[in-house]
Symmetry: C2
Subunit: 337 residues, 2 copies
DNA sequence: GCAGCCTATGTTACCCGTGCCATTCCTAAC
DNA sequence: GTTAGGAATGGCACGGGTAACATAGGCTGC
């Protein structure tokens, strides 16, 4: 770290106060739009701020009030690019609205030690709240401690004692996708699930299973991917070898890309031979070939809702956004045999 | 904000000191692994830390050092999901390595006022450095002021007086893509560019133009998208109507998805009728139909390099990663007429 | 004309980890 | 035995914004 990285000696409120001929307190009040400041005084202060290039320093406030007006966001480094971006944007927008800034902590992979380190890091930073957008595979004592001390919301649905939970109704997403395939005339629906550590993945799988059971169908064993298109491709290669597969519910759009590619390479066309429904409705879902029938999730709103829940803006209640089915061209009636 | 959002009264070093029967200073030394601490004293202190569940508080250090150990990252809210995620991950990883945390500021659209607001917000937070991952369409006085006071790196290549610049060689990316199409036997290469405000887009376009000029070909007028697949689709519709178009260089994978869709809908097949080369190599590029021939960019490394540049870890020098051409199936020789 | 209140501003203390210096005790060297 | 040096520890001030309290005018109402 070179000295160029230092902020140098920045002017303090006291400096501004001196320049404006008032007390530091008045400067503080002016900058925070406190009501009881004379218009003329305010003008003088703002002029001084301008001249000295004063910049606010949040550390003292954190020190004395314990509030940093910063929220921490825990993300996974790889996979699910679209959803991650959208959640981040939603969080940042809602936080900004409320005067909070957002500090991110990415973890390279789902690993308890890394998770703990991230939470610790955010805790050390003094964040006022934490939004966890990855599943908690296992919760350590220290994690419990942190989430008890700092308000926490998990977006994925996993929980600690302290954390509140918010999630899109993944159950319903799985049900809708499966039902659509059954409605199209398919007798059986296969499933490429997400990693079982993710509650989202588990719920989608359960939705699929229950929908099939309700229709009196024995669910085939689900295959499991890791959200990546590559994992979808691998599972797709397996499914392509099973002649009776005519309909697949894939737990994410990105995996669906891989599944479709594998099917195509084995000469099975989508949707003529096999119908596919996935989940997310990423931007590219409408532009690939064939355009994906998929269950849309509003990640942006989820992110915003998480912040609202954290800040108590929302009157709590695990507010759950409803997913909606977007029918495009990856589904069709099964070929009559 | 409810009182539940407070961190509550956390134990301080003084509390630990009292419990261990030593001074706060000794606690501080113990926790920082200072050499001159008796083994027995250390043990007592650590026991007290454990018992009181003491957690370190960074605020006072920030207060006295004037450093926040936080870097600001400016992102665009929409579009380029993959690249944005990857840059973010790279930045966060490198920053974390160096003991810094990352605070994000997203702007909804490329707009000078929003840009200024974001920088101001980061400045108010007291970040030690700023990484700007969007183009600076116009630089205001205040933006100049901020980037002079706070070390800044732009990842896209735009500059202010203060900011240092880092970028992948986009020129070369454009050249490589175009040359590949010429090498495949095409006589002319069309171009769907990114928004002209983005230096990346401009450089890719220039690389394309120069490559054509070097081959003695008059470049056709470029079409312009906004990075979204939807904009690629619109431009693709136009290109699909021009019979002599046999090769298109598209400035991003996501737009290429749209272009291909439009071509297909008009009955023009890729790559049999039209060859496509794009830029980025997003994860899905290998799994769509046809798999995209594209120029790979290492966004993660760019993000990491930006941090290195900011922190002076790197010996400056606008370090530039070289792009590489990934040949897949969206390119072929032109159909002989 | 004075209590009562409101507005505008100033003063003081506090938050807590750490740099700096002081202090104590001990050992080694002369 | 005395001094020098080192190890272990304590005391104190500092950083800068802000809550809480104090103060000084000015205005209303009876």
């Amino acid at each position: 770290m070179t000295e160029a990285t230092m902020r140098g000696k920045q002017p303090s409120m006291a400096d501004v106060a001196r320049a404006a001929g008032v007390s530091a307190q008045t400067v503080s009040r002016t900058l925070r739009d406190s009501p009881n400041v004379n218009a003329e005084t305010r003008r003088r202060v703002l002029t001084a701020v301008e001249q000295l290039r004063y910049r606010y320093n949040g550390a003292p406030r954190l020190l004395s009030s314990g509030r940093s007006f910063t929220l921490g966001l825990v993300l996974l480094q790889s996979g699910g690019y679209y959803s991650r971006s959208a959640v981040t944007a939603g969080v940042e927008a809602a936080a900004g609205q409320a005067g909070y800034s957002v500090s991110i902590a990415t973890i390279a992979e789902l690993d308890t030690a890394m998770m703990e380190k991230s939470l610790l890091k955010l805790s050390d930073q003094g964040v006022d709240g934490i939004i966890i957008a990855v599943p908690l595979i296992s919760v350590t004592q220290r994690m419990e401690d942190i989430t008890r001390d700092i308000p926490t919301v998990t977006v994925d649905g996993s929980r600690t004692t302290g954390a509140r939970v918010l999630g899109i109704d993944q159950h319903e997403a799985g049900r809708m996708a499966t039902q659509h395939l059954l409605d199209s005339g398919h007798r059986q629906v296969w499933h490429v699930a997400g990693p079982d550590e993710w509650i989202e993945a588990r719920q989608r799988r359960q939705g699929w299973q229950e929908c099939l059971r309700a229709a009196g169908i024995d669910a085939p064993p689900p295959l499991e991917g890791d959200w990546s298109p590559e994992s979808g491709y691998r599972q797709g290669q397996i499914l392509a070898m099973i002649p009776e597969v005519t309909a697949i519910f894939v737990a994410s759009d990105e995996m669906a890309f891989g599944v479709i590619r594998a099917l195509r390479e084995r000469g099975r066309s989508v949707p003529a031979d096999v119908s596919i429904v996935s989940v997310d409705d990423i931007e590219l879902a409408a532009y690939c070939h064939p355009p994906l029938t998929t269950v849309r999730q509003d990640f942006y709103s989820s992110g915003a809702a998480a912040v609202a829940l954290l800040l108590g803006t929302e009157d709590a209640g695990e507010s759950v956004a409803q997913p909606s089915l977007i029918v495009r061209e990856s589904t069709a009636a099964p070929r009559s045999r």
